[in-house]
């Protein structure tokens, strides 16, 4: 779990150019971390690539926060 969280955090920091300590479970990519809708599409693609999973569009829409992403990926890879 913590390994997944670290890897997701690293991607978020790299893609959105935000401080690591801002990337908390409740942080919304759009409202708190400065992403626009295109950034979130790219983030989901980066998660897919990193974890070798497929995140369907309807599932991607439910991933709004860092916590959502970690939860989804943890379940998808378990």
């Amino acid at each position: 779990m913590s390994d997944i969280a670290d890897r997701v955090r690293k991607i978020v920091v790299e893609h959105l150019g935000v401080e690591e300590d801002k990337v908390v479970d409740s942080a919304s990519f759009i409202d708190d971390l400065g992403a626009d809708s295109l950034d979130t599409v790219e983030l989901v693609m980066a998660f897919e690539e990193e974890f070798g999973i497929e995140i369907p569009d309807d599932a991607a829409e439910t991933i709004q926060t860092f916590g959502d992403a970690v939860k989804f990926i943890t379940e998808a890879t378990s």
């Binding site: 959105l16 790219e42 897919e48």
Partner: protein
């Protein structure tokens, strides 16, 4: 009609990043050509080009991080990066970064490109073949579209006036400046950022122009000698890359804020050959009419021209342009200096007209015509002074810049000194 003046300059060229650095190297007769470094071109018919010197930003090198946040760089093709760097230089030079809404509403952007995000399109096509459509970046389209140079520039500075982009191959930069000047004349804007940008040096770009038989191929051992307009040993153009952007401003607007005025856009002419997709008409009549129209707009006789920055690509077409210029000037030809700065920087395609218009502005400022380098063995006899291999110190009140593009599209700009 409202007058339009040039109040800011910016450029990224194969000689240097920056206007003054480029200009001093141009006058020194340097060449930006070299063996291609950005990718392995050894399997291509042409192995050399005029690439932007990349580095840490010192000594005229181009450091992308100086101009655009690293995270944003990933989202745009290189042609947009060059355009944004040139635009930043131009607005700094003009001291035009207004904070008030009215000024922003009255400032527009017209920065075009001949081909746009060619490398990004090619790379994405490869990616889709290897990994499928789900791997295509959401930034692929907005990072490749030609008008996203203008779009990104307007977003950065909050310029909310006309937002437009010219696409006329190698005439793009000249058309952009001419059209933007007209928007100011007509009152659509008081200030316009105008110019062109191009980043075509890639496997697909070189292979494509090689297939058109347009590029020089024979000078692989001595690339700096490859671009040689009017010379008997020329064998095609040398591809360049980069961007040129000017700040154009309504004369009274510039005066009122005490802006530095480099020159005035006196005339602009544009015509079509209606002849061939890549070759100019052999009698050069399209270029002739373009120059003539620009001078008529300026209210000047051909004899008023002191300096011409030629299209002069180092192809067989050089002599066609030369013939048209001789016909235009008639008996005034012997007192005119005409040079092709493509001999130094190569052919920047959609950026060429903008960068070359800036060279005309600097020629007027410094009263010196830049040289045509590598002109060792002229293929032609002409009464014109082609400034072979050395700059020409001389009076320059009026300069004319020519740009001709695939599709038979021609543009000429007339720029003049502003006294007082």
């Amino acid at each position: 009609m409202r007058r339009v003046v040039v109040t800011g300059l910016g450029m990224v060229t194969p000689l240097a990043c920056g206007v003054e650095e480029t200009w001093s190297r141009l006058l020194a007769g340097e060449s930006g050509a070299d063996t291609i470094k950005s990718f392995d071109a050894s399997h291509l018919a042409t192995t050399y080009a005029c690439e932007i010197p990349r580095g840490d930003g010192s000594d005229g090198t181009f450091n992308p991080d100086d101009w655009l946040d690293k995270r944003e760089q990933r989202k745009v093709d290189t042609f947009i990066l060059y355009a944004m760097a040139a635009a930043e230089q131009a607005v700094r030079d003009a001291n035009w970064k207004p904070e008030d809404e009215e000024s922003r509403l009255r400032t527009g952007v017209m920065v075009g490109s001949g081909i746009g995000g060619l490398s990004t399109i090619a790379e994405t096509a490869m990616l889709i073949k290897e990994k499928g459509p789900r791997r295509v970046s959401p930034f692929f389209i907005p990072g490749s579209l030609i008008n996203l140079a203008s779009g990104n520039i307007s977003i950065r500075y909050g310029f909310k006036g006309p937002n437009h982009a010219v696409v006329t191959a190698c005439s793009t930069g000249a058309h952009a400046i001419g059209d933007a000047a007209r928007l100011i004349q007509w009152g659509d804007a008081d200030v316009m950022l105008a110019g062109g940008s191009e980043a075509p040096i890639s496997e697909i770009g070189i292979a494509g122009f090689n297939a058109c038989k347009a590029l020089s191929t024979k000078w692989g051992d001595e690339p700096k000698r490859a671009s040689r307009p009017y010379d008997a040993d020329r064998d095609g153009f040398v591809m360049g890359e980069g961007a040129g952007v000017v700040v154009l401003e309504e004369y009274e607007h510039a005066r009122a804020r005490g802006a530095k005025i480099y020159a005035e856009v006196l005339g602009y002419g544009l015509t079509g050959d209606a002849y061939h997709i890549t070759a100019p008409s052999e009698d050069g009549e399209g270029g002739y009419r373009s120059m003539k129209a620009a001078l008529e707009r300026a209210g000047l006789e051909p004899s008023a021209v002191d300096y011409i920055n030629a299209h002069g690509t180092s192809t067989m077409a050089d002599t066609i342009e030369l013939g048209a210029v001789e016909r235009l000037l008639g008996e005034a030809a012997p007192k005119v200096t005409m040079s092709s700065t493509k001999s130094s920087i190569g052919h920047l395609l959609g950026a060429a007209g903008a960068v070359e218009a800036i060279f005309c502005v600097l020629a007027i400022r410094d009263q010196v015509a830049p040289p045509t380098i590598n002109l060792d063995n002229p293929a032609v006899e002409t009464p014109l002074d082609l400034a072979p291999n050395a700059p020409r110190k001389r009076e320059i009140r009026v300069a004319l810049s020519n740009s001709f593009g695939f599709g038979g599209t021609n543009a000429s700009l007339v720029l003049g000194r502003v006294d007082g």
